[in-house]
């Protein structure tokens, strides 16, 4: 059975949600709907649904919803596939998984193409896609071997799942999935790129943003996690493992 988790903010998108439900019905992908604002204890509810035979968890929401659910699911021993139906803004994770909009997401769910994605940890939080920090004074310790410091204002990303368009157009960069890919952009042409296993963002006044949705204070320890999550991805999404 599919378990659909609806985020609170979907009240603003009633028409879109109705269309999603129509498409899901057409594709015979009905299931049980749980409204997150009605759930007091998410991990217990998820465990109960899995025990009752849930085959897929479908998150209907955005990056924040998916990150939140994945942080619960990663601690549950049964690994059941997770899908995202993106609604509204802040859906870069869905985009990185090869899902452009809510309609396509329904067809992706129907195709059920599953990829195991290793998560990364940022202090005690799990991140799916990336961690971002901006500023001039950003200083990073990489693999406990060397320190890297920005001398001008820049955008600093640690990608777990690299974006499909924005940065990969640059053919000089070989971004790898399931690695920490550090990418720093200062201005339009000046870029820094390297792979790492462990990155520490040293204390700075700026906050780091996890999966474009959760702000965390620095210092921040980022590393690849041994936790994986089976994600349902678009047909064109391949991982360079």
């Amino acid at each position: 059975m599919n378990i659909f988790l609806y985020d609170d903010y979907l009240d603003k998108y009633k028409k879109k949600v109705r269309k999603i439900e129509e498409t899901l019905n057409k594709l015979n992908l009905q299931g049980k709907i749980l409204y997150l604002n009605n759930i007091k204890n998410i991990d217990t509810s998820l465990q109960n649904e899995i025990n009752s035979g849930a085959k897929t968890i479908v998150v209907v929401g955005n990056n924040k919803t998916l990150n939140n659910i994945v942080n619960y699911l990663a601690n549950i021993s049964e690994k059941i596939p997770v899908a995202i139906i993106p609604v509204g803004p802040n859906n870069s994770i869905a985009e990185s998984l090869g899902i452009i909009d809510e309609k396509e997401a329904c067809y992706v769910l129907s195709s059920r193409r599953i990829e195991n994605v290793k998560l990364i940890t940022a202090n005690n939080l799990l991140a799916i896609k990336d961690i971002y920090i901006a500023g001039k004074d950003v200083s990073l310790d990489v693999d406990k071997s060397y320190n890297l410091k920005l001398q001008k204002d820049g955008d600093c990303f640690v990608f777990n799942i690299p974006p499909k368009d924005e940065y990969l157009n640059d053919k000089t960069i070989l971004l790898k999935d399931n690695n920490l890919n550090l990418y720093i952009k200062i201005g339009s042409k000046n870029k820094t790129y390297l792979k790492a296993k462990k990155i520490e963002i040293n204390k700075t006044k700026e906050k780091a943003i996890i999966d474009n949705s959760i702000a965390l204070e620095t210092p921040l320890n980022i590393e690849t996690s041994n936790k994986q999550i089976p994600l349902i991805v678009g047909k064109d999404r391949t991982f360079n493992l």
Binding site: L174, N190, T192, Y193
Partner: protein, 138 residues
Amino acid sequence: MFKKQDLLNNINDAETIIGESVQVKGHFESNGNIIINGSLEGDIKTKGAILVGEKSKINANIEAEEMVIKGEINGNLKINGYLSIKELAKIIGDIECVQISIEKGAEINGQVTITNKKTKNNYKKDSSKEESEETPEN
């Protein structure tokens, strides 16, 4: 089959890029090609090639398979293959490599040693297909 310029031709497929306005300090080790346009202090070791850009300032000992230098380096270089020193390059330190080319205008302050054999990651050599070696000016 190994050709002298293979790694350098593929330098655009860099595993690591250090951009301008980024300062790196410490021990930097890689298995792939590295492009450095920023500043670096410490030491660098790679099984690939290194391209040092015009604006880069490096204060480090370097070990690599191949290397192109356009910027400033203060440190010893151990290159297991071909080293290309471009006209704007400034090097203070000893150089050890298998093949070298030095453009007019480049500055080298140190001892240059050309060795016969690669010390690490020996490739099968086809000497007939390699370009002729140039002798350093100093």
